[in-house]
Symmetry: C2
């Protein structure tokens, strides 16, 4: 039995239920599919999308990539690699490691800027004390 056949038997969610679960709008879910970030989602007899738990897991991963600043074009690239199968594992790993490094840099940058802001807050606090007391 294939993964797809297993997935096909699972309880599924409508686009609005899936949107609720993953914290994206229904419009965005359809747009992600159209943009190739998500492989075509299964449909019911009326042609409406049915999201499996596997789909939701994929969407969760995509939202983490988006929140950490990965551009849509890179997510599309990653989705294409994932669809191509196991021989793209090494490239997917490289893609993730490169992204990880960018996120680490971004965190370091935020922390450095935060220090400067904290210093400024301290100054403001002292100025206010002088002004009021």
């Amino acid at each position: 039995m294939t993964m797809t056949q297993i997935a096909a038997r699972q309880p599924t969610l409508s686009v609005s239920e899936a949107a609720e679960r993953v914290g994206l709008s229904t419009h965005t879910l359809r747009w992600y599919e159209q943009e190739g970030l998500v492989s075509p989602v299964g449909r019911d007899s009326a042609g409406r999308r049915r999201y499996t738990e596997e789909d939701l897991g994929w969407l969760d991963l995509l939202t983490k990539l988006r929140r950490t600043g990965m551009p849509v074009r890179d997510m599309r690239r990653y989705a294409e690699l994932a669809r191509e199968g196991d021989h793209t594992l090494a490239e997917r790993l490289r893609l993730f490691q490169a992204h990880r490094d960018r996120v680490l840099d971004r965190i370091a940058e935020l922390q450095a800027d935060l220090e400067a802001l904290d210093y400024k807050i301290d100054i403001y606090g002292k100025m206010l004390e002088a002004q009021q007391g």
Copy 2:
């Protein structure tokens, strides 16, 4: 007063020099001024902008606020408050503290997402080993 006289009193930088120093484009510096994020910059006898060290310090602060995700409209508000004088100190402090909290949240979010990515990287590493070894 001539440009030479100004220069004699305080060294100043042209818009392109200032852009270089603060890491923004000349277009962006003019746009920041137009948008009220920066008070009108001094001019030389030919009407060209001359940036003082004070201007550069302000721009440095603005770039930190921007990099940490403060929207331009909030930076404008902050600039307006700063121009109004000392009686806005308390509000400026509140603005900074609120921003600081958002940055802290953002860092925490990035770190949480990073953990999930690290886990994924670990999985990919193991799958690659299994595939190759």
